[in-house]
């Protein structure tokens, strides 16, 4: 059954892409292709001849939103006077679209610059299992799209018992410190997590800032821990839980656990979920005078 859905979505992408390119509605389609070793990878189509290479299945893990700003920029950015803003099309799952919302809210992108080929998402696969965060996902259809590919699947979302977060919370502070030290020890400071994250778009990351030098150049556990903690904090209320960081990590560090903890606290303290609406400011960009917050 899964295969049929995938083919339907893939065909939908191709049909739409073909039309968009032939009508000149977008300058570029950001989608997926099958790499030389069979793995799915990001791909950029500029002409109708390339449309046939567009594919989709439930292992297309990359959050392509990370490429959007560059491609819009390459089409001439928003700068061309009077001309309609350049547009790119992007294949996007519900979580990816929420990342677009984050960028739109932050003024990095205008809604009309993207044509969203939204996926009615059946959940992503790791091997032959649906990934845990996808099983919990309640959002099968993106919050906005220009075309919807596939039928909204009737999938009952699993209840989120936050078991993974609770397991860590059940440890003592010392044990938690040791747990993360062990995980971050494997980190090679390659920044793949940051680079794969649509929310990490700073011109200069504090990890590379020299003056002031917040982190230092060493690849040691304290520096690596500092980086990951700060990154999670910078994503507070902004992380859409697409898991692109964890997918990108060559050392298989459970990075999304950090983001999930943050997401839960954001939900609990501020009743907010990231990327739901581009007009609603994220919790750390706003406040309520009368709120009672545990400090």
């Amino acid at each position: 059954m899964s295969g049929e859905i995938e083919i339907e979505i893939q065909n939908g992408i191709r049909v739409r892409a073909q039309k968009l390119l032939s009508l000149g509605e977008v300058g570029c389609i950001i989608g997926y292709e099958r790499g030389p070793r069979g793995q799915m990878r990001p791909m950029f189509v500029y002409d109708e001849a390339g449309v046939e290479r567009l594919v989709w299945d439930r292992t297309c893990h990359h959050n392509l939103v990370v490429y959007v700003r560059d491609k819009v920029e390459a089409q001439g950015g928003g700068r061309a006077g009077g001309a309609p803003p350049p547009r790119v099309a992007i294949v996007a799952r519900p979580c990816d679209v929420r990342a677009l919302n984050v960028l739109i809210h932050e003024g990095q992108l205008a809604r009309e610059q993207v044509f969203v080929l939204g996926i009615a998402c059946p959940g992503m696969l790791d091997g032959d299992k649906v990934m845990a965060h996808c099983r919990r996902c309640k959002e099968r259809v993106p919050v906005f799209y220009d075309a919807l590919l596939g039928e909204p699947p009737a999938i009952e979302a699993e209840d989120d018992d936050w078991q993974d977060v609770a397991e860590i919370e059940a440890l003592s502070a010392g044990e938690r410190l040791a747990f993360w030290a062990q995980e971050f020890e494997r980190c090679i400071r390659c920044y793949a997590c940051r680079q794969a994250c649509p929310g990490c778009y700073c011109f200069e990351c504090l990890a590379e800032q020299v003056d002031p030098g917040w982190i230092g150049i060493a690849h040691r556990v304290p520096e690596k821990a500092f980086f990951h903690i700060m990154r999670a904090f910078h994503l507070a209320g902004r992380c859409v839980e697409c898991h692109a960081c964890e997918q990108a990590c060559p050392m298989h560090i459970p990075l999304s656990l950090l983001n999930r903890k943050m997401a839960r606290e954001v939900q609990e303290l501020f009743g907010y979920t990231a990327g739901g609406d581009a007009d609603v400011p994220p919790p750390l960009a706003t406040f309520r005078r009368d709120e009672e917050l545990p400090l």
Binding site: V165, I168, E169, A173, G174, E175, R176, L177, A178, F179, W180, A181, F184, E185, R186, L206, W214, A218, H219, R220, V221, P222, K224, A225, F226, I229, M230, A232, F233, A236, L258, K261, M262, E265, V266, L269, F270, P283, L284, F287, R288, R289, E291, L293, P294, L295
Partner: protein, 161 residues
């Protein structure tokens, strides 16, 4: 517990209220633990969580962030932002192993010299109880190889005995 342990506390105090509160404590001869190292900042809203983390990175055993009471911010709403930020940061730092007791967010006005002394005393006591902070990375100021090597050496020494 290490009875000689004197915690190092870094205090980020807002210029308008809490720093003045500390001043008030001083001029009114209210005693408070000398463990705190004060950094004056314009506003509690200026205290980037980066500063707090950096303080822990550089060896602080505890951190205090203090500003004007909600409603009294010199700049209008800086402390409201700080309140949100640290409500979240507090829980998150605890999750990565920085015991919640090591970080305190509080409001101290310019008139509250006694309260300032009390906040510092409570935090110092709590941190003293928690013991020295091991540092991010659980004291593993090493590369993966160095750490693995140390483990191996320790294990081998154990085996010889």
């Amino acid at each position: 517990m290490d009875t000689d342990f004197e915690p190092k506390i870094v205090g980020f105090l807002c210029n308008w209220c809490s720093y003045a509160g500390a001043d008030m404590a001083g001029t009114s001869r209210v005693r408070y633990p000398a463990n705190i190292r004060i950094i004056r900042v314009p506003c509690s809203g200026r205290v980037d969580p980066l500063y707090v983390l950096k303080a822990f990175q550089e060896g602080a055993d505890g951190v205090l962030v203090a500003g004007c009471h909600p409603g009294d911010c010199h700049y209008g709403d800086g402390n409201y932002h700080a309140r949100r930020r640290y409500a979240l940061m507090h829980r998150f730092l605890d999750f990565v192993g920085i015991d919640a007791g090591r970080l305190r967010i509080d409001w101290v006005s310019a008139a509250e010299g006694n309260r300032f002394a009390q906040v510092v005393a409570e935090l110092t006591d709590e941190v003293r109880r928690l013991g020295p902070w091991q540092g991010l990375g659980n004291g593993r100021a090493s590369t993966a190889q160095e750490a693995a090597q140390r483990e191996v050496t320790a294990a081998l020494e154990g085996r010889d005995r």
